[in-house]
Symmetry: C2
Subunit: 356 residues, 2 copies
């Protein structure tokens, strides 16, 4: 359970969850539901999800697949479907897919008739460990990622690890990036466990995956519960993300996967922390090595310059009244939110972090 | 003050408020602000508002004027401006204009970077008495009014009655419709005061206007505070609105002003209540007479049919799992939310309420 007082909700993690009818239906208070999915996921899991709804009146809207479709125009298709079907404010939106589907369906649920019910069924590792917990929803704008959105909590999250069997290898690694992040933020033991079990995760061992997902969700839930609106502690979840968003934006959304950009971003944060004398050489190397083991990039793309980074980072949401806060590390499992660095610190780290 | 616990905010009502610099600045926590206004209001009050911001970094975005521009496309211009100016999540959006500007600027503030600060400076009577209190924000969709939005509270509301001097007569009357509504909902004494003072309001007497605005805001604030999310008591605020929205939608947004449609809608609710034996002939006549005195329509447009009404009303947000709740009256000052009526009751009221 994610503890947000009245708005707490359960997260189910395990095998064969799609197919347990009561699991879904008990969280639907009204008489109608809209399933939002995409062209890749729908052929695999839409019928199973429909079957779970039994006789409940429901419809589905299938979006194109990809981060580049996470915009206001495609969002409008969800509104269209809700309105054409005359779904009322007691309807439930079910997000069936990865982070993009979850973000868009979540924002549609947050804003349709000023808020209807939401259930997340994440089908990628990234969305199972990360984007279905914490209530962040939204779409991109041509001038910035996730710039339009809302904080909105689901009524339940159903993470069926069977859905990871159909996940491309590259997306599996992208999900592991966020898992590594939780170790780096505040859990050195979990980081060590990941060093020992990375090969099992890459081989999609269900027990290892379920454990890693559970620890990640619990860690995220704790951080979010402590600070639902990201004024303080929650910003730790952005480890690797300010660098990562700049990569995604600079390369064009979708060229690098989000998790790949976060993987490189965490290495960049580690290098900057090391250069500033905050983290030892050994821990910095362990960080880079684990990211590498997960088959993720450890350096920024060579086509990007340090100037481009600084420019793109300054429009990121982590900027408060002109001061850009970064998440840096004082060791593995000990990340901090800080603006205690000089422009030279940042520039030097960028120079070293961009692939030759 | 509207009492919503931690999120309470002050409502300032009176003459010459635009010009009191500290009034605005004390409610701006960050270092930047975006003024959102429209082509009609900006030439009149934009410079005054800018002057109130002193040295604070600010920009303005000027939208086209009219309900038909309250859509996602025009909303996007506000996001564009926020992003082009690199305004961060500590920025303040200032809505300077009527209900449309308030709704759009409010939703932009609710959704930009998942929520920035908001200050409402309503410049029409309708927005001063109604749309700046209660936190409803949003835009229209081709298939329904206010279908996309959020509940989002401003940090302050500044209602300067001087701005009503430039308001067209038709819009003054439209604002009075919402004022009458508060009398009908729960304040029979205020209804009587309105019967005695309607000519002063129409003559824009500042003392009478300030009193009527204050009572309206206080009444709305009480209803909203009792039920912030419209599950129960708040639905009373929809008196005249389910009928009214059908008129606005059926005639095409902007042909009838919102307040004009609400005026006719309240008369329709009165007639239906009377036919059902819930309200006396005398009180029904007083209701219709006061709406007429305010120079508002008392009947639905002759071009609309009862079938069209029923069809349009069924897509309205007041429908819960297929049951359409209406606000009817058991007397002046005693409105109730109910689904305790038959299709025949509704049909008969519609037949009598449509102008010959």
């Amino acid at each position: 359970m994610v503890d947000l007082g009245e708005r707490s909700y359960p997260i189910y993690i395990g095998e064969s969850l799609l197919g347990q009818t009561e699991l879904l239906q008990q969280h639907i208070p009204g008489k109608s539901a809209l399933i939002v999915s995409n062209e890749t996921v729908a052929p695999l899991y839409l019928e199973k999800t429909r079957a779970m709804l039994g006789g409940l009146r429901h419809e589905a809207v299938i979006l194109p697949d990809g981060e580049k479709y996470k915009n206001l125009e495609v969002l409008n298709r969800i509104y269209d479907s809700l309105l054409r079907n005359r779904f009322d404010r007691n309807t439930t939106v079910i997000a069936l897919g990865g982070g993009v589907v979850g973000d868009m369906a979540g924002f549609a649920a947050a804003s349709y008739q000023r808020g209807v019910h939401l259930i997340q069924i994440p089908t990628t590792l990234l969305s199972q460990v990360d984007s279905s917990v914490g209530g962040k929803t939204g779409v991109n704008h041509p001038l910035g990622k996730n710039m339009i959105g809302a904080f909105y909590q689901p009524r339940a999250v159903i993470a069926d690890t069977d859905t990871l069997d159909t996940l491309p290898q590259r997306e599996l690694s992208a999900g592991i990036a966020e898992i590594i992040k939780y170790g780096l933020i505040c859990n050195a033991d979990f980081f060590s466990w990941l060093e020992d079990n990375m090969s099992l995760l890459l081989a999609r061992d269900k027990t290892a995956l379920a454990y890693a997902i559970e620890v990640s969700c619990r860690t995220k839930a704790e951080v979010v519960a402590a600070d639902e609106r990201e004024s303080g502690k929650r910003a730790l979840l952005n480890l690797g993300h300010t660098f990562g968003h700049a990569i995604e934006n600079g390369m064009g959304y979708g060229v690098w996967l989000h998790g790949e950009a976060v993987g490189a971003g965490m290495c960049m944060a580690a290098i900057m922390s090391n250069q500033m004398g905050w983290m030892s050489d050994e821990e910095t190397e362990r960080t880079i090595k684990l990211v590498e083991q997960a088959k993720l990039p450890t350096k920024a793309p060579p086509s990007m310059s340090a100037e481009q980074f600084i420019n793109l980072m300054s429009v990121d949401k982590k900027v408060l009244d002109g001061v850009m806060r970064l998440v840096l590390m004082k060791g593995i499992g000990n990340s901090v939110v800080t603006s205690d660095y000089s422009p030279e610190d940042l520039n030097r780290a960028l120079q070293q972090s961009i692939a030759a």
